[in-house]
Structures are given as C-alpha cells and as structure tokens.
Symmetry: C2
Subunit: 462 residues, 2 copies
C-alpha cells in the first residue's frame, strides 16, 4: 500500500485536496515498503476503490510492449527467491551458483591500472573529460589486434561499451520494431526481452510459452545443441551465442559455416555473442569472423565481464564490420555509430584503462589464470553430476554446466535444490521453453563453495 | 572506397566467387580509410556500378527512424569541424569552449576513493561482481538525502546510471513509439534525436527545421526563455531542462509551478533534466520535486558529469517517484526498473565509489569549489561579451553563456569565430531552430584558456 501512502505525502505538501490529510496516518506502517523490488502489490492497490480516489493518474498510456513482458527479468527473480530463502533460513550457508557472477579477485596488474587512471584524474595532465563514444583509440586497436588479428577486423570496426547486455539493447534500438528475429532456445533472456520491449514481437503465448513472431531455434541433446536450420524460416536478425549461455555448448567451425551460409542465403544479420569464447577448450572458432564471409552478415558482441571479472566494472565491445550493409546498401556500422553517439556516452575511462591492462602481456596472462581456475570449478561440477548418473552437458567450453532432469519442472528442481542444499542454481526454463527440464549450474564461485555445493549435491542425489 | 576494398578481403578468404581475387590490389591504398568517422563517401561508393557488383547486401531494411535523422549528432559534428580546423592550422592554439566538457582535475578526495575501490577489487573481501542494476544502496540513499531531503523522494525512487544522456534514451525506450513529446526550443539535442530514433516523430521538415509530431516550445529573450504554455498543445511527455542547456536560463519557482500545473491538467509526464542545478546562484528550485505535486507528473534526471568532472567517469541518476502512474494506474517506476534490469547492468562500481565520495562532507565541499571556479569563468565570459555590446543571456545559473547575433546564421558565426580566433564554440541552431542566431560559449576550460579566448573575442569584435 506504499503507493497510496506516498500519494498522501506528496499531496499533503501540495495545493490539492486536503481530504488526503485526514487519512495520513492510515497506513503509516507501510512507509518503508519500497519500490520497485517489493511493489508487486501496487497494481492491486491502485485497483482498490479507496486508492482509486487517492492516486492521481497521468493520461500517458503504458507502453504496450512493456505490458507484454512476462514476470520479471530472470536473474532479479532468482535473486529475489534467494533473498526469500535467506530470510527463511537466516543461519543457512547459502551458496550461489545461479547468476553467472564472477567471484575471484581481479589480478592486480589490472586493478592497479584502474587505480592509476583514477588518481591521474586529479592531475592536469592526467585528467580527461568526455572520451570518444566509440571508445579510446588505444583500446579499440588492442581489442582488434588481440581477438581479431588476421580476420580483417580493424580498430574502426570496434565499438567499446559498458557491456554486452547493454549493447544487445542498443542493437535492438538500431534495428527498430519492424525486424523479425530468431533465437536459440534456450538462450540468454536479454535477446528475447529486449526484442519484446522494442515491439518486434507478438503477445506471449502461454500454451507454448513463446512470444509471437519470434523464431525459437530448438537446441537440445538430440541435435547436439545446434539448431536444424532446414526447419528455421528466414528472419532479419539471428541471435546466436557460442559458447552458449545457458547450455555451455560451443558450435563447431562446420556448424558456424552452415550458420553463415544460412544467413547469406536469407540476407539475415547474425548477432553473435562470444562473451564466453575465452572458456573454449576445443578447437572451435572464438569469433564468428573466423568464418569466411561472416563480415558481410554478422555483428559480434563480447565483454570483459567473464574474461577478467569485470561484471561490476562494466566493459564490453561490439564489432560491426564495415562490410555489413542494409538492403539499401547503407552501412550498419554507420547507424550503430549514430546510436552510440546519441544514446550512449562511452564506457568509463577508468574501466577502459582496466581493459587495456587486460590486453597487456602480463594482464592477458593473469586473466587466463583466473579463467583456468573457473575451468577447474567446471570440471568439479561436471564430475559431481556425472558421478550421480545425470546427463550432463556443457562445461567443456563454457563456465556453465547444463544438467538434465527429464520430465521435471526446472523451477521445481531449482526450489528443491535450494530448499534441501541451500545452493542457488538457475532454472533452465528461465532461458526459454527449450530449457524446461534442465538447470544451469554456474562455475563462478570460490573453490571451497563449489566443493561444498558438490558435497551437498551428492548428499541430495546419492 | 574502403568498403569495396574490404569486401574483396573478406570474400577473398571466403569460399565464394574468386572473381573478387582478381581485383584484390585494386584499391589497396584505401586500406586505412576507417569507418564510421570517415565514411561519408560510403553510400556513393555502394551506388557505383562497380561496387554494386562487389558489395553483398543483406535483406534487412534499414530502420526508417534512423533514416529520419539529420546530419550527425551535434557534438561529434562540432568535434569534426574542430579537427578539420586543426589540420588547416596545425600551429594554431585552438581553445575549445564548445562541447560542455569539463577540464579541471577531480578533487583527490574523490579520485582516491575510486582508486581505493579499484585496488579492493584485487582482494577477496573487496571484490564485487554484478551490482544492483539500480545502483548501490548506499549511493542511492546518499543521492536521496543530499539532493531530495524533505521532498518525499526515497532511496527506492533513485536509479543510478552511467549518465543522464544514457537515461534519456532508456526513458524513450520505456515510453515507446506511441507517445507524443514536447521540448524546449532550443534544447539539448539528445531529447529530439532519441525521440526520432524511437519512432515518436514524423519526418524532418526542412522548411521549418523541425521534426513532425514534436512540439517545439519556443524559449527566447522575448518570453524570458520560458515557453508560453497557453500556446502549447497537450503532449504525453514534456522534456524540460533547467538550468537550461544551451540558453543557461533557469526557471523560477513560479514558472515551474505553472509547468507542473500544466502537466497535471494535461496528464503529461515531465522529464526534468537538472544536470546543471549545482550551478544555480539565484533562489530557483534545484529540483522539480520542490514543486508541490510534481511527484505525480515528473521524472528527474541528473548527472555527476558537470558536478564533479565525471564526464569521462560516467555516473548519473534518474528519479522516478512511485507516485507517477500511467493512465491505467501502473507505476512508471516499475516499468523503468524492468528497462534498467533488461537493457542495463548498473554503473561501474568504481564510478559509484566516486559518486559516494562526492557526497561525503569533504567531497561535497571540494566538488563545490570546482563548480565555483567554473562560475568565475562564466563571469569572465559574460563580462567580455557584455563589454562588446552583445546581448548576453544565461551564465548566472549555468556554465553556459548564450550570445545573440541577430540576423546571422549560427554556423556562420561559429565558423567565423573558429577561423579568426581559433576558439571552438557551439552554434545555437544545433539545439533547434529556436537557437538560430545564437552561439553557446561554455565556461568549462582552464582559466588561462578562458582569458586568452576572451582576449581574442575582444580583438575580433572590438
């Protein structure tokens, strides 16, 4: 009821009807109910006769695309359930292997570069104001030469950002509401949700748990987690993530060659998410641009988040090759540059100093050592579930282990694991209907926690 | 011709037609032509018969809203002309009072907090991954208590961001393509450009230099830079910036009370940009929420950029009061929270540590000292143009001086000043047709540069 209460406050200091004042103590106890995390009751409130009188409404219609969105964004929902569990079991040692959140300290060679840049901002020589919206020249060049050498990707094709998730939404703004899209099913929810927000989709269809007008490309054990493209209709945009979040599977060179060919034949644009490429142990492509001709049909987005523990520092990049053209021949990069200049103002200069340090010889080595540590975590989790007789997928090329619970509801499994082991995982169905019956276990965690979680898994499923 | 050239490259390593290979040396000299900054020729390239054959095009239509945008975003265009001027006069001491870019070092009490947070990320105790998308609780609380105490704005109403410009575009995504909007004319170009990108507007009408479906609220010396609301039709959204960029004028309490009343009567939502409130010297409201009832009709966006020289560090915030409701009673804050969770991932944790330091007693004091320094710059610039007999506006409550050149073209004045004094200003017409005949001079600059620029102005206009 906080809404009504606060309306009292605001109107009591306003020139409007003082009838509110009389009710000012009415629900004073709710003063500390806070929006938006705890506001699920608000709409009911507003619908109640009392509040109908109390609450002023603007005449601005709610964006109908926002209204299409189902529930909350997955990870805040997982966090909400974790928080509720901790309230229920205040003494439990809750271990989070849910949201893929890095836990290991950032190597000092990287943080000291950020500290140095911070201090420098207090000096005349070291101070810098607005940077280039596309990122600092040196960092763009380092990203191009480190990850795309010999692939024909140049400094000018790199757009530095505050993270891949943010760039995905900027790319949706670039494409606009008229494009059609395809996603892997399951997939990282930001692709679908940002598409819904931009108005590219129809309503959510409860029976199939899909949004209208989106092509869900099924990725499951039967097809080796690579979609059967012969059954996929043409769409303007194809979101494709490899190594995949959540399934942890990585597409082979041969599969990606087929994907690029598919896009070429259809005149589609692939948005390729390579945020986990550094976790690859097989000899699969690290970048879509390793595939001949990809520069004419693909954008690649990536991030320092899982490379260097920058989830909180915020730094990523997107590659839009100059060869990529809209149907009228207009370069996609030119429009993306306009979006970046108008809707964004560059990544933090301190974060960019950190990114540059990540790509120095010492930083690069240190970064890979942390990745190797998480890889060991992955092996421990895989071995645990293998030893318990589960069908275990992913892991080899990604920090995610994808475990099959045939015939069960992902949220039920999530809840049972949380209730009985105090370990937070992520329900597969949160990534799309194709994820139903699976849970994702993240390898991001302190070693002791991963070992303890695995001990508890063995207890639960022995 | 770089596009064609690079198409050769990409296709030459592809499995497709080798006829490209024959032309592989054709325009090798253009290898270093880079997109997007220098890509103005690209489209012509693509239109040429040769490249028609050479360039693969996707079948994805360009977003028609992007095609509506005129020229480049203002400030990159100013930067482009500055760069061209420096090429023409390599030995000139060019002084930039154009884009409002801070120049003074950030007080050490603030940068040391950022350095400390950076170093801490290398420790188990000090490391943090994903933060709350809405910002760190402590910072949200500090912003609420520092800038909105006694205004009924609480921690939960504050959304910390990577800057006001970015939040403006996220707000446009929130509103969607169906809303109508009004802006002050002249105004900060991000309001109009982001509205065009979201598809809220019609085509650009060259004769009046306005986009269709946007209400341009004229702000000029005749109306004291406050629009005559009796002539303004109802719109869903009203962008209002005070102290204003570019005119430097600040709305009085009485004027803002009229604005809020106007919004209430029309059921409109005001997006109030208070990014320059700290520069206020008159007794005008620092926040729209000082106006009774504003919480039911207004959102406020602000930034640390001009408060603490964070233009490169990137930190801002937006206030969405829980009392603000769409016509169906749904809380706007709840949808904005969904946007923030889906399209954004929080501001850099290091920048947030800096923001918290800005709001500490020492930081707050140091921050105001820098602001006071820029205020002195403003006075120097105002006195200069006053002494030269110009009609000078703004300055008193903002770091911008708005100078009238009746009957002249802003871009002509901009060019003449640049050509004859090597000083970069900003042409008023870049902020909308209402800015024609004015130029904006920014007070952000080292004292010596401001004095030298003023000396040159006196030379030019003596």
């Amino acid at each position: 009821m906080s809404l009504i209460h606060h309306n009292h406050l605001s109107t009591s200091i306003s020139s409007s009807s003082s009838t509110f004042l009389a009710r000012n103590n009415f629900n004073i106890r709710t003063q500390n109910v806070s929006l938006p995390a705890k506001n699920n009751g608000i709409c009911k409130c507003v619908a109640a006769p009392l509040s109908e009188k109390a609450a002023y409404k603007t005449k601005v219609s709610r964006n109908e695309n926002m209204a299409k969105l189902q529930a909350g964004y997955l990870f805040p929902e997982v966090a909400r359930r974790k928080a509720a569990h901790m309230l229920k079991y205040p003494d439990a040692q809750v271990i989070s292997l849910g949201i893929g959140d890095t836990t290991e300290p950032i190597p000092e060679v990287i943080t000291s570069a950020m500290a140095k840049r911070s201090y420098a901002l207090s000096t005349i020589e070291g101070y810098s104001g607005y940077g280039a919206e596309q990122g600092e020249k040196q960092l763009r060049a380092a990203i191009a030469s480190t990850f795309y050498s010999n692939l024909g990707i140049e400094e000018a094709d790199i757009f530095v950002s505050d993270g891949a998730k943010c760039d995905i939404s900027r790319l949706q703004v670039l494409f606009g509401s008229s494009v059609t899209m395809a996603v892997q099913d399951p997939s990282y929810p930001a692709y679908v949700d940002s598409s819904v927000i931009m108005g590219q989709t129809g309503q959510f269809q409860k029976d199939v748990e899909k949004y209208g007008k989106i092509e869900y490309m099924k990725c499951n054990p039967e097809n080796g987690f690579f979609p059967d493209l012969s059954t996929v209709p043409r769409t303007d945009v194809i979101f494709f993530c490899s190594p995949n979040n959540p399934t942890g599977s990585a597409a082979s060179r041969e599969q990606l060659t087929r994907l690029v060919q598919f896009a070429k034949e259809n005149g589609s644009i692939i948005v390729y998410d390579s945020a986990y490429a550094i976790y690859m142990s097989d000899d699969n492509p690290r970048s879509i641009f390793e595939i001949p001709g990809a520069k004419e049909v693909a954008i690649e987005t990536s991030s320092f988040s899982k490379y260097a523990g920058f989830t909180g520092v915020r730094l990523g990049w997107t590659v839009v090759p100059k060869e990529l053209l809209f149907s009228d021949g207009f370069p996609v990069a030119k429009d993306f540059n306009r979006i970046v200049c108008t809707c964004f103002n560059g990544a933090s200069n301190i974060a960019q100093a950190g990114g540059l340090a990540c790509l120095s010889p010492e930083g690069f080595k240190a970064m890979h050592e942390v990745v190797a540590f998480y890889r060991e975590n992955t092996s421990i989790i895989m071995e645990t579930f293998n030893s318990l007789g589960f069908n275990v997928y992913g892991g080899t090329n990604a920090p995610y282990v994808w475990i099959h619970f045939p015939g069960q509801s992902s949220w039920d499994v999530f809840s049972e694991i949380l209730e009985k082991t105090h370990v937070v995982t992520t329900p597969g169905s949160g990534f799309g209907p194709g994820g139903e019956g699976f849970i994702r276990v993240s390898a991001f965690g302190h070693r002791a926690n991963v070992l303890e979680a695995c001990r508890r898994f063995k207890e639960l499923y022995k």
